[in-house]
Point group: C2
Chain length 160, copies 2
DNA sequence: AATAAATCAGATAAAAAAGTCCTTGACATT
DNA sequence: AATGTCAAGGACTTTTTTATCTGATTTATT
């Protein structure tokens, strides 16, 4: 079916968002993230690893280890995450798959979509993780299971 | 990487567009379409089959057989094609994959995207194939290989 | 030093998407 | 009636994405 982000990327965004709602110095384990956000444990491990290698997260081994944001959440945009996981091909590729379609020589169909594509792009670079986290604290969202999971972060649940 | 449409759907749109630039009563073979649009022959066969079953195309067997639009291109929208191939899940699913996210209980991130989603949806139902075909006839697009392929439709080339 | 909790790394498996092959039946043309 | 060209349809293969498993390494705690 498709739809803008890969599953991997969705998981990445959800995870970074989760980390953004914690104190910067607090470390969060894969176990906790996977449990809270219902993401497969080992799959998530790889994703966090990638985000770490890309410099978005820092990781610490050993007991009391885990992951944390490598920078203030205000500085992390959705685009950073998407870029790290899915890449930026979507800013270039023709939505209809005409391989010959380039920005210099767009096909007509491409044009219909360029505005939308720009909207998407700007939304990605405009929205930082801190803003998004703030919005998720609004009372009308707190009853949402996944958000509650992010907002309350007590003892981790087991997965695998 | 993802990005809105499946490959299958892209091929479907390209094909319908191609058919829309021909006379209604003209039949086009899989061979011609596959050759012109560089789509794998057998894969395209299946796609055209699906479009036929969904009522967007009519098919005719035997020599002189082939496919044609089942209705005037003015009546076919991008949405019809997307609906037939990829389905309409994208109008409902949360972009970030929060499974608990529904129109009644959107997550905050979902909200950022609802406008875009609407834009996409409206563009899909607004744009009919006849319009798109007309645009592709504009001189500035005619030098584009794929468009040339669609605009000139002489003797078919062989594939597989 | 031993233990346990965590990430790291690589191999494998399962599922989904994309693509291929092959046989059948329709049907114009000869 | 025979032939060749076409779509229909099902089974299969390949590739990509998603997910799992297993073992190693790091490190805080006892």
């Amino acid at each position: 079916m498709s739809l803008i982000f890969s599953r991997e990327c969705e998981y990445a965004i959800q995870s970074v968002l989760y980390l953004a709602l914690k104190r910067r110095d607090e470390r969060t384990s894969i176990r906790e993230l996977a449990g809270r956000l219902s993401i497969p444990y080992h799959f998530l491990g790889k994703i966090l690893q990638r985000l770490t290698r890309k410099g978005l997260l820092v990781s610490h081994k050993g007991p009391l280890g885990g992951f944390a944001l490598s920078m203030p959440p205000e500085e992390i945009t959705l685009f950073h995450i998407v870029e790290a996981i899915d890449g930026t091909a979507f800013t270039r590729l023709c939505v209809l798959g005409f391989s010959e379609c380039t920005p210099e020589r767009p096909c007509s169909v491409h044009e219909y979509w360029s505005t939308l594509r720009d909207n998407i792009y700007h939304m990605l670079i405009r929205k930082n993780i801190a803003d998004m986290g703030r919005d998720m604290r609004k009372p009308e969202y707190q009853r949402l299971p996944a958000v509650k999971a992010i907002l309350s972060h007590p003892s981790p649940t087991r997965t695998t």
